[in-house]
């Protein structure tokens, strides 16, 4: 029954720093470093757009065979996470508020904005253990949410639960936004709103043609506030360790 969502880990398949083992290594030496591949990927994206980032094109840009790339990364998702860490690394890190609730909201908004500004985030954001694949330089957003929850009096379990709720809501918004934008860029129909049976779905029929207008608004902040307030209200305000663990969580 319990779904297995993103757990963190220090360094998984895709580490961040280019490990320096050019000394006394056995086997054929590499002709291309990971840094060179990432640089080629950035060049390719800047020049042709991120949807043109394919394995073969990247290999051509880097001047190597396509299959050689698979000795530097497990699959394309790995490459995207590498690029994401690289992108977040360059991001400036704003100061977070001290007040717990404000810190949660600021951290979540930073997380959301980082993903929203990264058009190809949708392709990896739901990877198993995604959060655990982030560099420590990106984990400050997760830390901000968890620390805010703990600072408000949540137990560890409640804090992780709050983060997961925020994560689900955020990643859902990002993915729907990304796919809508993609289709909208293509020649999509305006999705008018035709004949709904008013006796079966009266409220939807009443909204009718207004739906597209209403659904086009950016309601992420309101939803985030509502979610966080609701979760914080359900959390025990006893700041002592694990007390009251039976309340407010899946018992």
């Amino acid at each position: 029954m319990a779904p297995p969502p993103p757990p963190p880990a220090s360094s998984a398949s895709s580490a961040s720093s280019a490990s320096p083992p050019p000394q006394g290594r056995t086997g054929r030496p590499r002709l291309t470093s990971r840094a060179q591949i990432l640089a080629a990927a950035r060049r390719l994206i800047d020049r042709d757009g991120w949807e043109k980032l394919t394995i073969r094109r990247l290999a051509a840009e880097a001047g190597i065979g396509a299959t050689t790339l698979y000795h530097h990364m497990r699959d394309k998702g790995d490459l995207l996470i590498l690029l994401l860490n690289d992108y977040v690394d360059r991001l400036e890190r704003p100061p977070l508020p001290e007040e717990p609730r404000a810190r949660i909201l600021a951290s979540a908004t930073a997380l959301h904005d980082a993903l929203a500004a990264w058009p190809w985030a949708a392709e990896v954001a739901t990877t198993d253990g995604f959060v655990g694949l982030l560099d420590e330089s990106a984990l400050w957003m997760v830390e901000g949410i968890v620390s805010g929850a703990v600072g408000h009096g949540c137990t560890q379990a409640q804090a992780v639960g709050l983060f997961r709720g925020v994560w689900y809501y955020t990643v859902g918004e990002i993915l729907v936004r990304a796919h809508s934008a993609g289709r909208r860029a293509a020649g999509g129909r305006p999705t008018g709103f035709g004949s709904l049976d008013a006796s079966r779905v009266p409220h939807l029929a009443a909204i009718g043609a207004r739906w597209p207008e209403l659904a086009a608004r950016d309601t992420y902040p309101e939803g985030l506030r509502a979610l966080v307030d609701g979760l914080l209200a359900g959390a025990t305000p006893t700041p002592s360790g694990e007390a009251g663990r039976a309340r407010g969580d899946a018992g």
Copy 2:
């Protein structure tokens, strides 16, 4: 700035009923009906599993050429939505509570459970205008959420906003769950929890190895309740049409 999320429409590219134009039609007559294709798809899924549902295999199962399928549906996403509607049609429709908040929760849970039980939902749930592609026999879940919101005193804008919040949260949970389950089925590493810098991310470091255990719990219901309560609390309780539209929504 405003993202364009799922708007409904009565019947888009993928209608539900097999239209009956076998009379006086010009052009070459079809050898295969849409119903036959869907039946072949269900057969294929039941026999080999849904991950084996590919265009070519489906064509072979239906006894037609692969490219012929594209005269019956726009693309594979269309096929999946056809199958989803077909699946939801057979679903029993539980009675919904009268009380607005309870109706919202019941409708959202039904939506969530329907998607969660449909393993390939993740591939289409974020399609642009997804909700609008649903048959009326599936829209009762959306109607339940919107009607609950309106019944609580929300304006149309607030009701649509509430639905979108619930939709984002739900689809995020579904997608993360689906991708986690997929990887976990394969030989995934246990995602332990290595060495985090306690001075940079103290709370994450403190949680440490407990994260997987805490993240494995099913916290969807708590998050849903929190989100709905928060959004209802922010909505104006004036049940008169569009009054108070400036409050609680994107002004």
